[in-house]
Amino acid sequence: MRVRRWLAGIAAAMLVTGALGACGGDDDDATADTNGSETTAAQEGEGGLPNGVGITDDEIRVGFHGPLTGPVSWVGLGARDGLELAFAEINADGGVNGRNLVLDVKDDEGSPATAGSIVREYVQGGDTAIVVSAGLSVPTVGGVVAARETGIPYFNLTAGDPKAHEPFAENVFHGMALQAPWTGRASVTYLVEKYDASRVGYMHSEDGFNTAMLDGVREGAEEIGDVEVVGVTTWKPGDTDFTAQALRMAEADPDVVMVATLLPEAAPVVKALRAAGVTAPLLISNGGTGESMLELSDDELGDGVLGTWFFSDYFSAESGPVADFMAAWTEEYGSGMEGRPNYVDVNGYVDGYTLAEAFGNMTEATPEALIAALEGISDFNPTGISARSYSSTKHFGGTGLNVLEVVDGSWKSTGDTLDLSFLE
């Protein structure tokens, strides 16, 4: 018994010594990277790119976390399915330099703590090239913080909360996740110009994104001058009655109203506003632009409502890149799920191609090379749906928001876009 214990002790000591040797060694053929794994020059894939963190002879592994269960599972499931659709198309076309893209999916249940733990798990596992996240702003911040701490390349698909974007981190990138205050500022500028408005009403859900948008709205109004933000009123996500808020907005007598909301509350809020006698033009934020507004058209409440949107067309477009995406998505997943695909599906799909482009342009299989490859992407739009541009100082890839309008029960493009020139 005692002999066995001694042998076990010796074996453990040897393991520890070996591990320390590996960490402290100066072997030229192997370089430790930020994830603690090794890149070996001898291991090399088809395209000349050596194997490395998350990159083997056959595959490139992409980690993913998002809410796959719970009230906002539509975000996580949408991103997962969009990414997997893009990866399936790319893999069917030969992959990236002969390697298949593989998505490793984990459910963060919409919890910032779980999101952070998952990112750390990926780092400890050492076999993931980049971690992609999708979720509402607050949970995603948990993942972003862990990514900043560990240095693993990280791609935020959806969160627009400033805390997810700032402070700037060289390893953290963002897809179409326009920062909330930017959206607010661009939206108010658009409305004031379009309607020659001087009183802009703002009502919002108390989620992170739509709350943070108010700062941008106020900033934009101040920048324009002689514009007042009026009737600011809120509700909690999940509320079902908006009469009080609508009455306060009616009392404020706005020229235009911005309704910054999540999908479930969008239609009931518009209904309450019209019932309270608010006849001013309405602009729904991108988080609330969806099918429910079209159902309101049956009561002649939806028509004329504007919505900001990530893409030039809505899902119902009969032709064009979004229509092509819809056909591909439906073929892959069927058409039985209501509310799917949603805008997160599309963003996942678009950024699946963005990631593939970056992997294809890597010069070495290191996190640093992946970051450089992402920063080298400029006006990249292979799907035709939405372009991405990055640089070493700009890690937000989106290039603008479009404005749609409900016409005869359908979302139609107005041809207008929100001006983001203040970012330059």
Binding site: W74, G238, A244, D298, M337
Partner: protein, 293 residues
């Protein structure tokens, strides 16, 4: 266009009636079985989604509407009976009501995720049984339907308990299940009845409220909590108290929503509940039960 106070009062009654509908379903079950059903929100969603599916499949004639009401009632009753069989009967053998409550939570999670998977996260419009063309004072048709149902339920339930043998048996089971068993009443049958009626009320409520505010795959947790608060406020054993509690909470929400920030509005509701419980632990209309050791 109605004046501000008229609008606020009207909406207080409408929102209060919605909370009362949730509360009545909770009270019916709790009074007769001692169980709080955390899947009541999902049963509401079920009623609304059933109406949505029927509306999609058929043109809404009077005949279809009648069939819808009957169908949703039967569906709700059946779900209640199934919940008794799945949650109540097997878990109560452990002699711990908490296990049954946890069982209802499991059902809530199961149904909620299934509905969300199928119906997404948006609010779907459902044609109300009574249209806006029907009006009475400040109330439109869909609002009248939502207000009328809890009133009819309270009157009907009280009449049932007072004037029918079935009602007296239910009351006997609620007051003393052991004594009722000794008198030859099969307690299990009346437990099933309580589950079925509670779920029927929930499903009907979901259908009517859906015509007013739209249908979601899952009823928000906050909405269910408001139903529980209304039930506790009125007294967990009083169906009439649930109606009063619902209306009171509706007034707090609507007037509070207008005059106070959202976060403070909810605090006022809870503060009101705590104040009532400090003065009357059994709620406004509930009865204290004595336990002798």
């Amino acid at each position: 266009m109605p004046g501000l106070y008229e609008s606020l009062v009207t909406q207080s009654v409408v929102l209060g009636a919605q909370y009362a509908l949730v509360a009545i379903g909770i009270v019916v079950l709790f009074r007769h079985t001692g169980i709080a059903n955390f899947a009541q929100g999902e049963i509401l969603a079920l009623g609304g989604l059933a109406a949505l599916e029927v509306q999609r499949a058929f043109a809404m004639s009077i005949g279809v509407q009648v069939a819808l009401v009957v169908g949703v009632s039967l569906l709700g009753g059946a779900i209640g009976a199934v919940m008794y069989a799945v949650c109540h009967a097997p878990l109560r053998r452990a002699q711990d009501d908490l296990l049954v409550v946890v069982g209802t939570l499991a059902v809530a999670l199961l149904l909620g995720n299934a509905f969300r998977f199928q119906y997404g996260s948006e609010t779907h419009s459902v044609a109300p049984l009574l249209t806006d063309a029907v009006r009475f004072r400040g109330f439109a048709g869909p609002e009248i339907a939502v207000i009328a149902l809890p009133v009819m339920l309270v009157v009907g339930w009280l009449a049932l308990q007072r004037y029918t043998r079935a009602g007296r048996r239910l009351t006997a089971v609620a007051q003393n299940p052991v004594g009722a068993t000794l008198c030859g009443i099969d307690v299990r049958v009346w437990f099933v009845v309580a589950w079925a009626v509670s779920s029927l009320v929930g499903a009907l409520a979901g259908m009517l409220v859906g015509g007013l505010i739209g249908v979601r795959a899952t009823v928000p947790l906050g909405y269910l909590i408001k139903g529980f608060i209304a039930a506790v406020f009125g007294g967990l054993t009083s169906v009439g108290g649930a109606l009063v509690g619902g209306i009171a909470l509706g007034a707090v929400d609507v007037f509070g929503g207008y005059y106070l920030p959202t976060a403070v509005r909810d605090i006022v509701g809870f503060a009101l509940l705590i104040s009532v419980l400090l003065m009357r632990p059994q709620g406004m209309f509930g009865r204290l039960t004595e336990s002798r050791l």
